[in-house]
Subunit: 752 residues, 2 copies
């Protein structure tokens, strides 16, 4: 079905554009709305907005803030300095500011019908035109694709995406002569520089290229230039790329020859709308996708861009919103900086456009209310009007499984949610150059607080003092490595040996995802080839049981291997050790856990051996109690570690972890339960439910077909969890006899 739809669209696009594909500057004729503005703001939109102004609070407030900002800029005067700086330097910041102000001034001109904004834009564009026609490459040489206004073509593309919108808004205000001058000396050569002159930037599937495609396409739509629109949608015609070349991040520049906006939609998004680099980079990439799509939708509605690939662009917004915790912070999968949330500007765009061009989900209105601002265009008006009408409903995040890969067949990310608990299970593909080596890893949240963390990236974005705000070397040596994540590392070596070439050719597969019973939600995934000859199968569940105060996590990892190995399974908790049921020693001097693959960054703070068949570790954080109960063997090692070794610039957080280490083992199983329980009040100084509810967990059967776990609570109640390891169909009826008791159930798991 996916394939058929795609082919249909490709045909449709080809039909629409082929007729005018060969002649330069031919005007196309399928505009429903033939005047300007036509991209993001439309003529009808302007009419509607003007009619409602003053009666739509969230829109009016957004307008007021934008007006204040632009008026201050107009007051301060125009500056288009000769480019010379890297990011952070004056000329960079000034040109960046200019693009935002131009775009906003365009909106103000249309909405307020005040000529001063048109004059401001015209004057600034003329200065750019004058400078650009003789402007050489930017003098800084660090980029793989240099721009002219900026040190990297990416920023030139950013500029054009925004400035196209400003040009659209004053298009009709300018004379034809003025337009010709701007288009000939500025816009067309500008679009050429970031495309035909920079194919290593433009002609690939990458978030950089998406900006490039959108920039070329946006200005093409304003100028009604089919050559540029074609180039935007399909890439540079006839341009062949070196398929073995790599970029600075180690990713292939273009190993399969794909390029253009549609290919950029195809590749990174799964049919469920999951973006392969993860939510942090999706958020960054969303703007050009959505803004150019909106431009296409308005200027070329027959293309139905929002239905392309079964509506993946709008689905991706829903996916992205679901990839955030209770506070709206995105889960920091792969290279993600913590704290980025749906309050970011790009998500205002995403939410507004999703509402206007999607199915009017009233949950989006509640997010827009929290964002407390809207786009000053047709979509912002739609949101503001419906908020005013009281249509907002809570955006309820439910458990969700998001497949990864262009066809949805390269693993995925599953989020299990029950009450305040959120389990993020990552069984996704490599995630392009920003991916981490953390197959079958997870993180755990409660009420938007991290309980078991994903470290995220090792970078302080835009904080100059920390490596210029760029990726720190510890991102590679620590953050990407397997041991930095809550999954199994074998023989102190990262998955796929930490090599992108291997990682990007492999991925886990879903065994099953079951959320029909809210009380027992399960996800299960297998991966081969993380290590030669070793297969891993992890099943994680959130279980709400009446003996327990809150839903608890059950975690089962089955490892089969042809070799004898050391396995390390960490949990990156927060806070302070409260109690254990095993003795441990703490060294007088702290040494590192290992030498490579991230191990060199861990200090060992404590060392113990199991004393019972279950090892228990309780900790205390933010006035809450947590307990890990894990099946252990007497020869296992139990390690308390802390991040921070070999960190000469204090780039890493001093966060703790608890590691179960199992040596000299071929096949093995790790079975654990994690409970969040009770609370402490420093005001009343009373501790409530500070102890685990679990008396014992025990694997009572484990073979190729089933894994059976017994859970006994301190009240003496016993529950059995069975997961099917091979036949995970929902329809299959299973029967199993254990200790003379017969179990019969249908579907991939049993819990009672």
């Amino acid at each position: 079905m996916v394939k058929i739809t795609k082919i249909f669209f490709l045909l449709l696009f080809t039909l629409v554009f082929t007729s005018c594909n060969d002649s330069e500057n031919t005007k196309s004729t399928d505009h429903t709305d033939s005047g300007h503005p036509r991209l993001i703001l439309t003529k009808q939109g302007v009419k509607d907005i003007r009619a409602q102004l003053g009666t739509i609070p969230v829109f009016d407030n957004s307008l007021k803030k934008v007006k204040e900002e632009v008026d201050a800029e107009i007051e301060a005067g125009i500056d288009t300095p000769i480019p010379k700086d890297y990011s952070g330097g004056y000329t960079h910041s000034r040109h960046k500011k200019n693009w935002f102000v131009l775009q906003k001034a365009g909106l103000l001109y249309q909405i307020l019908d005040d000529e001063k904004y048109a004059i401001y834009i015209k004057d600034m564009l003329k200065q750019y035109e004058k400078m650009y026609k003789t402007l050489p490459l930017h003098p800084k040489t660090r980029s793989y694709a240099r721009g002219k206004l900026f040190w990297q073509a990416l920023n030139d593309a950013n500029w054009l995406v925004y400035v196209s919108q400003a040009y659209d808004c004053i298009y009709d205000y300018l004379t034809e002569a003025e337009r010709n001058q701007l288009e000939t000396n500025l816009f067309r050569p500008f679009a050429d520089h970031i495309s035909v002159d920079s194919p290593q930037f433009y002609q690939r599937v990458h978030n950089h290229s998406t900006w490039g495609n959108a920039a070329v396409g946006m200005i093409g739509l304003v100028m009604d230039d089919e050559v540029l629109i074609q180039r935007a949608l399909y890439g540079i015609k006839g341009k062949e790329m070196d398929k073995t070349a790599k970029d600075d991040d180690g990713g292939f520049i273009n190993k399969d020859g794909k390029a253009g906006f549609l290919a950029n939609i195809e590749e990174p998004f799964s049919p469920d709308g999951y973006y392969n680099e993860g939510p942090y980079y999706q958020r960054y990439a969303m703007y050009p996708f959505l803004i150019f799509a909106t431009g296409l939708q308005n200027a070329k509605p027959d293309l139905k861009i929002f239905e392309y690939k079964e509506g993946v662009l709008l689905k991706s917004i829903n996916a992205l919103l679901n990839l955030s915790d209770a506070d709206g912070d995105f889960f920091p999968l792969n290279d993600g900086q913590k704290g980025m949330s749906y309050y970011t500007e790009a998500l205002v765009t995403a939410v507004d456009i999703s509402y206007k061009y999607g199915d009017k989900d009233p949950g989006l209105l509640s997010i827009a209310k929290k964002q407390n601002r809207v786009l000053l265009d047709d979509s912002g008006l739609a949101i503001a009007l419906d908020i005013k009408k009281g249509k907002a409903k809570p955006f309820v995040k439910k458990s969700i499984n998001l497949s990864d890969g262009p066809e949805g067949k390269q693993g995925g990310v599953a989020i299990l949610r029950n009450e305040a608990i959120e389990l993020v299970f990552k069984y996704a593909s490599q995630g392009s150059s920003h991916g981490h080596y953390d197959k079958l890893s997870y993180s755990l949240y409660e009420n938007g607080e991290e309980v078991i963390q994903d470290y995220g990236l090792a970078r302080f974005v835009n904080i100059e003092q920390k490596g210029g705000g760029n990726y720190l070397k510890e991102n590679k040596t620590w953050a990407k490595q397997t041991i930095a994540h809550n999954t199994v590392t074998q023989n102190e070596t990262s998955h796929y040996k930490g090599k992108y070439e291997i990682g990007s050719q492999n991925h886990p597969d879903l065994s099953y995802f079951s959320i029909d019973n809210t009380d027992v939600q399960v996800v299960s995934s297998k991966v081969a080839n993380t290590y030669d000859g070793t297969d891993m199968h992890r099943t994680m569940a959130i279980i709400k049981d009446q003996d327990f105060e809150k839903p608890f996590v059950l975690d089962i990892i089955n490892i089969t291997s042809e070799t004898t190995n050391r396995y390390d399974l960490p949990i990156y908790y927060f806070g302070q050790v409260l109690s254990t049921n095993f003795e441990y020693s703490t060294p007088k001097e702290l040494k590192t856990l290992g030498k490579k693959h991230g191990y060199q960054h861990l200090f060992v703070e404590g060392f113990g051996r199991p004393q019972k068949e279950n090892s228990k570790f309780s900790w205390f954080h933010n006035n809450k109690f947590y307990t890990l109960t894990t099946e252990t063997l007497s020869e296992d090692q139990l390690l308390f570690t802390r991040i921070g070794a070999h960190d000469p610039n204090f780039n890493l957080r001093r966060d703790p972890s608890f590691i179960v280490r199992r040596d000299n083992t071929t096949n093995t199983t790790f079975v654990s339960a994690i409970e969040s329980h009770g609370s402490y009040s420093p005001v009343t100084e009373s501790a409530v439910n500070s102890k685990s509810t679990i008396h014992e967990i025990k694997t009572i059967l484990n073979n190729d077909v089933y894994t059976v776990i017994s859970i006994t609570t301190v009240k003496g109640n016993n529950k059995i969890f069975i997961t099917a390891n091979t036949d995970t169909s929902n329809e299959t009826i299973h029967t199993l006899k254990i200790s003379n008791k017969n179990y019969e159930w249908s579907g991939p798991y049993y819990y009672k």
Copy 2:
């Protein structure tokens, strides 16, 4: 003036009570209100409350909650088990719960006029009476003063303080025969057990004794028993204590023979209302002080207990509220657990009583609103009525200096506040057995967040898994030691050698405290004898200067010594190292900084040497930037440390510090500035004002008379700060010539 007032009161008390001092059980006759209830709730109060019920939201809500709680208890039935457990065990918890429920049931009986509450109290008291008359000492032996219902007499006293109130409420409901039975078999022997039978608990100046005094006094007031009232106010008549005996905490039990409620007001409170152990213990001690005082005020208004020692009890409430940060959390001076705040029950009592019996500060109403509950008595009614009338105003905390010591002559605590910045400067006396060895230390807050922390205590109060919830041994080995604080340690040895005997005989003295100019607020204090032959003088200022975004801290420490020493000055910051202007190395393995006096708990994470005359250290925490700029010598050592060594049970937090170490030095000066600046948004990913405003600080003159500091900002502006080291009078006119420039000013400091 202080002394005269005190003598007047002592005379007054003596006159009032002497007449009836010798005869047992004589009824006194000075009641204005001769019936019951007469202590906390009064007959008139009951009448007023009943008239207003249903119209005073905060009171009505508080009543509703209490009623629900008590009704559930009545439903569950009465249980008065034979005592056998320590804290946390069932019999302990049950008797503790009983005291609270009895007291609340008494209120409900009076307010709701529903006999079921009186019956409940009567029935339970009869059970207690039956048990108590033959009850032996509590079987657990750990306490220095065992109770009968509880393992320690302290808890028996708690019980009686509450239960007296219940008895007061049903006094008139009971027959004389019933009263006689209860008084003869329960209350009088109960009061005797915690007083005459437990002098080591009762006959001293200590927060335990205050509970004992209040308990005996409260039941004395209900029963109108002058012997008990006298014993409460003045201690056990004729009882001489061993003046050299010590308690478990190392404090003297009674080295000067003082005892009784009035002595317990005299000793720990300074005339400003500062409680010598600090706010955390003041909060704990407040309840018996205020509840017995209120009982005295109502039952014996002529005594004017709230005017005793110039109204110190009400002043102490104001002091306590000012010893909290912007969120209402008390500063964790000495043994203080972080997070304790004015939301605690004891502070509801304090605020309500302070409002009713004090000068009706409308600021208290705003705190009561935040607390969102009131006492169900006359004071709660007064608060609720005035909240309802809209009289609440913000409680504005200003800069304040609180003297320490019974006469206000043993140092103190100064809090400098400007905008969101709060500097807590501790130059107090030892602080009794809960004191820390941290003369002239400080902590710094911004908007209620800790910037430079005081570690607080090493204890997890009532969290059983951590040493039974009691003080951990790390409280002595770490938290009390000087190096755990933001002050100077000499030769890796704590102040006063870490010995209570020496510490309690010494204290710093105030040089000056100046807050007249809000923009330049200064506190200065000297201390001798922390080390033999070494004197320290610290001057700290919060300065608001137009070149700076926020007020910054200036810190000047002058040390004079007869010997050659090592000096260590730490700052306990939070978060991550951002940048330094000196190079440092980080060790591959972490070793401890030293062997004793807390040094054994610090790991060294980094080591550097100054490369300029100012060493700069910037850090990043909670999306804010901070910079320390400190004058250093090229031979100084700059150390990055982290708490956590020799911590076999993970009892300590892994918090960092930065230490300036100066070796082989006699006299020296540490001059530093601390700036909070800028912010970072992980949503917009923009860093604002991430760099220090200070180009250079420099000591340009330092002698016995003046210390002169030059501060040059990055804008090139220069400011001079001069502090007078000897003549700190406000009236003195100073003239000083430096580098051919004449400075003339009046008062202890100059800044321009």
